[in-house]
Symmetry: D2
Subunit: 308 residues, 4 copies
């Protein structure tokens, strides 16, 4: 038995402490549809590679996973294209905001990593070129590898992002001007906005990303999602780049590879042990879940569980 | 008689000297349609406020004036909106390339001046909001104030720019994300690309911009194009910002307010005296006419004519 | 008689209007010794090339001319080294704060122009290499060409700058790391701090810089300070770069080449006509005299006197 | 027995493979004294928390550890000042070169992390303020916690760095101008240059940094170097920031927290398992050991040993 930690107890202790914190954050408002969520939602779900489950609060409620889905698109693109992918996107932390155009200009349209917006758009362009029906194929890939059937896009969120996503149109056009986008801007962004609109619960996320804790194989469905070597590399990229300009903060306080989304979700992976997902909608000024960060810091501290 | 300088002699001397220079520049190739021009064209036309004309070479051949037309759009926008215009665009030199997004990001979507691409796009947005038929109304304004009838857009150039102008789409979307664009990106850029496609000859240009040499009044048509005070301000902006990241070079060598275009044209104004236009299609690395710069330097040096 | 404008009347009218303005600026405090000046001082002095004098207020009181002296050092360096000087410093506006290191890093230690701090330090390095006794020789040059005897350094200000001038030490060391400083940092900065500590009155300044209004010759002493061609170029550099990141503002509102100092002084030149100096110690947020800018705007507007 | 991997075999296999690579790197030449090293040196030493030792090649030869020593200074400063340290330096990756001033200017003199030069200089300032005899006290701290007696500064290297370290003088003065340096620049840099001049062997390094693999306690001397919580945080900072603008590359390929120096040394830590040091003097363009990076990539791949 690998894990004898009483996560259930830890969850309720930590959640109780966090619930007393002033939540200084704000629900993402730049995508109007996201602003309608109940800001007091709080969910935790941890699944071990031995398929033990621990959960707390709103762990089975679906929410907009937003940028967390960039780990799915990276996984699929890496599976399809291999190391040639790195000719079009790097894997270094950016030191800039998630939607900055500055670095892109200085580095000729090659985004720093696949998790800043520019990099995720390039990954979408790769998938649009490689897949017959990008939107269907991506959902199928997630469903198939995770064993979860009810995963879908939220067309209202897609519409909301299209109406207001001028910065993403700017990024896509900017990269196209550098020759780093092969398909039409509208087509790539349609896929990108769908990617960001995926809805899943904490339970779904912990289960779907369990392959990153088990060397590329999802032990629940017993499918090889990606090779062990690439699974390790995706973890390293999450470690270095998963929290925009706050990656150091998360590494420092939590010490696990992870990825956040502006819907208030965060996933984190302890390689060889477990995948955990938390959800609390209010965001700090860097765009990461305010209480979600605190929950994960508390949980890893209490369980003495960090890769460092 | 204000001007007793023998410009005719100066033109042929300077042109003869310049024609012997190696033309190290290149015709603008990022807009495919511009690449079809004969690179050896060379024209000069000077018109004094007393309506004396001096010319040389291909002075009556129409060419794509490109960014030179941004002086027309600025004039019209300033006439229509007055000093409120400066809430949306500055009048400081940029210290950056003409199509840079970096400064825009650091300065919250307010372009540095009306002559870099971002600033000219904001001016177009202002005109789209203010005019009933922006494209027709702008052409009418130019024709009416200059007394020149045969001025038109080149739809082939418009089409060529639309097909390849990703950087301008990036700039427009970027400003829209900051709230500094009120109309739809496609609509504003359609007008912007038309603006840049205007075709005029050196003779046309010298005549059409003569109002900047005569306190806002075009002496040929006797129309008040703009107030004296604003005419002076447009000249100061041309001085500071008319040559992208080479404004200092032009001030240093020529010493007149001016504006260049990637079609190889340049206009320059000697307030109180004359307006001059030159044309030579090959561009230096900063996007300004290689021989055009040399012509104007030679002419102002020989005629001892500079505002400094 | 070239100038029949009643400057005396204009000065008292404009000064009366400006004196009623709230002075929103602050006296320079980063150099403690400068903080001791009376903030209500206000002086104006205009000298025409025909040697007519017009003045107002504290026009004969000496003050710390600070960066205005960079026009003297540029003139002397250009006289000594000629166009080779431009291999080590540019003449383009910077688009950045006067003491920024950012652009220097992107452009390999070549400062944008001789008036930002980095550029003025390079000019000092050139003079330290070229002169036997840089401090004595520079003062002699100014005295000799201007015909003013009582010009001196203020050692208290030098001391004050040395104690607090870490940013300038940073700039000098930074350029030395790029190989663009030939002498020892301490030696160059000792000269630089002396240069900035020169004290002159408005009357002194208008007289000393009159050569820039008269094609390089000071008509009072009848000495050729520099060639006509270089005088014109110094004017163009003042126009483009004389007010740090507010050069466009000054060109726009006043329309004359000029140079400001953090002591609250400003000089401006109308080529062919006059040199004017104003002084009011409180600075706006860009480090230029708040009321000095307003005085010059008022005076050039009232006298309808601008190069544009 | 925690580790049954035959590291000896892996070392000779990987070293044999790496020795056949073209070494495209160059020995650090900006510090002249470093240029005298034999570029063909190659050493590896791994020490497990159970005190097993594995080594290869020049593992006992002392070399200039350069920036690796910044992990010692950080450890000591964190021990002395606790979390108040983070008011003066961050722990985010920089996305810039190790000696960049750009980010410092945008972020008001607070360096991004303790491993870029600016951050290490701030740490030195903290130690100069806190220790009676900074140079002696630091060496004593390292000797005492590691149990190694013959560790010393190389005064020739110190002298060499002082003669040529203009960029570091620029950084220190720049931070002092922002108020983020409490002691005199010369004093802080004297300590900084000594810190960088420390000489140790691979064996020494693996032993001295073993506390980072064992929750803050060095198992060899049985001394608590720092708390477990802070040991974990130092590891996270090494992970995020240990390789300048190549941190992602190292995380991606090796997957361990580590720190490099321009002397060609690299240490890496597998928390709970071991500390490894490698040495090969030639550097890649990012200033990290060219073959050292390849050695560690090969070793962690072969031993299937990564935190991800």
């Amino acid at each position: 038995m690998k894990d004898v930690i009483d996560y259930q107890k830890i969850f309720s202790d930590v959640a109780s402490k966090v619930s007393k914190m002033d939540d200084l954050g704000n629900v993402a408002c730049y995508i109007p549809e996201l602003g309608t969520v109940n800001p007091n939602k709080l969910g935790i779900h941890l699944t071990t590679v031995d398929q033990l489950h621990f959960h707390f609060g709103d762990a089975t409620e679906k929410f907009s996973i937003q940028s967390i889905s960039k780990v799915f698109s990276l996984t699929l693109a890496l599976k399809l294209k291999g190391d040639k992918l790195w000719e079009r996107v790097g894997y270094e932390p950016s030191g800039c905001a998630f939607n900055s155009l500055v670095q892109l200009e200085h580095e000729n349209g090659i985004p720093r990593n696949p998790f800043i917006n520019a990099g995720a758009i390039v990954i979408c362009d790769v998938l649009v070129s490689s897949l017959d029906n990008p939107k269907d194929d991506l959902l199928d890939f997630i469903k198939c590898t995770s064993g979860i059937d009810d995963i879908s896009y939220n067309e209202k969120v897609v519409h909301s992002e299209k109406e207001t996503g001028y910065r993403n149109y700017a990024l896509a056009n900017f990269m196209k001007s550098f020759g780093n986008l092969n398909n039409e801007v509208d087509c790539v962004l349609d896929f990108y906005f769908h990617l960001c609109s995926i809805e899943m619960s904490c339970k779904d996320l912990a289960q779907a990303f369990l392959y990153l804790a088990d060397a590329g194989v999802n032990p629940i469905t017993n499918t090889t999602v990606i090779t062990a070597r690439r699974s390790k590399r995706i973890n390293s990229i999450m470690q270095m780049c998963g929290f925009y300009d706050e990656a150091g903060e998360f590494a420092f306080k939590t010490g696990l590879p992870g990825k956040s989304g502006v819907g208030g979700g965060i996933i984190a992976v302890h390689p060889g042990k477990y995948c955990i997902a938390v959800w609390s909608p209010k965001l700090n000024k860097n765009g990461n879940s305010y209480k979600g960060m605190a929950l994960l810091e508390g949980i890893t501290t209490r369980s003495n569980n960090s890769i460092f």
